[in-house]
Symmetry: C2
Subunit: 204 residues, 2 copies
């Protein structure tokens, strides 16, 4: 059994990383697992424990920080959010790929806390298209739209910290790119050592 791949996926909001990951999971459901974050914030209506988040107390979260139980964590507006390390490790060891759909700061923390991880950045085809997509959601005021754009511009500077960049022209193309990255990474020489050893051990 080969170890699964840790796929760390980020991108500015509106670039479509959620949709791309969703399409990927729909097509590769058995082999991929979406990491569930842990948070200290209160559950919102409709959120399900263990699916949306793991909801814990501030004390519990801080104890876990002290025990180094997070692959990454951050405090945002007074609430903690983090990726529990143990579950990710268990899935990877069982050969399942794990998707971490997290923000850039989280991704950079993962880079510091583990030697594995394939870092993928989802880009919009153009900033104008990004604008259209965010406006299309209809949930932004002109001010919050401007804030989002500035933030998207700044975020794109971090693409150089990632291994791959997928431009999301269409969901189908972006999803296929992601599938190819996974397939190519499985062919990396460092990951096919089992197969090579088997070949070398074979009697003729």
């Amino acid at each position: 059994m080969n170890r699964g791949l840790l796929l760390v996926i980020s991108g500015p909001s509106g670039a479509g990383k959620g949709t791309v990951c969703e399409a990927y999971k729909t097509n590769c459901g058995n082999h991929v697992w979406n990491s569930v974050s842990m948070t200290t914030r209160a559950p919102r209506a409709g959120e399900v424990e263990g699916e949306s988040y793991y909801f814990v107390t501030r004390e519990e979260f801080q104890r876990k920080i002290e025990n180094d139980e997070f692959l990454e964590f951050a405090e945002v507006y007074g609430n903690f959010y983090g990726t529990p390390r143990a579950e990710v490790e268990k899935k990877l060891a069982a050969g399942s790929d794990v998707i971490l759909e997290i923000d850039i700061q989280g991704a950079l923390n993962v880079q510091e806390n583990t030697t594995e991880g394939i870092f993928i950045f989802i880009l919009p085809p153009s900033m104008n298209e990004l604008k259209k997509r965010i406006i299309g959601r209809g949930s932004e005021t002109p001010e919050s739209l401007l804030t989002r754009f500035k933030s998207a511009y700044n975020e794109i500077n971090y693409v150089s910290k990632y291994n791959y960049a997928i431009t999301n022209h269409t969901v189908d193309q972006a999803y296929s790119d992601l599938m190819c990255i996974v397939r190519a990474e499985r062919c990396r020489v460092t990951r096919v050592t089992n197969e090579i050893l088997t070949l070398k051990e074979e009697e003729l």
Copy 2:
């Protein structure tokens, strides 16, 4: 225009690298170019200048060695064989991918002579399957068969010098793996700098 990819493909004879490259070229004909080697050996019946090889004199070859005109070269049984650098460079600069289907020694020389190159090793699914495929060709004596096997065993040790290993279970699967590697490599952050710069320069 993004620069093309330099695909260096090796593998023991019988692993099927020729067939895999052929399938790839058939499907991606416009974007990929098969490098033509230069040699000092005499043309054989049916060989075409500029397709099978470029045939040159020993003096011409040696002059080119002195001028550093080869990406790699070797002397085998008294004849020189080499990959002319200029043509490869021209194709890459024009955005075409270039396939170098060469032996391991050649591939290692390319690694020394350039900073680019995606090194792909084609593996047989099993040594028994490799045996069957070589016997199937019907061109081997028992002695030459044994020599080929020993050589295949030794060659597999060099897989660690490559970036990717494709196990050739079927031509379709191996060809798809190769296609995915190319597609994934095109998504490498170091190769999408043009797209990122365009995004950053866009007026809103």
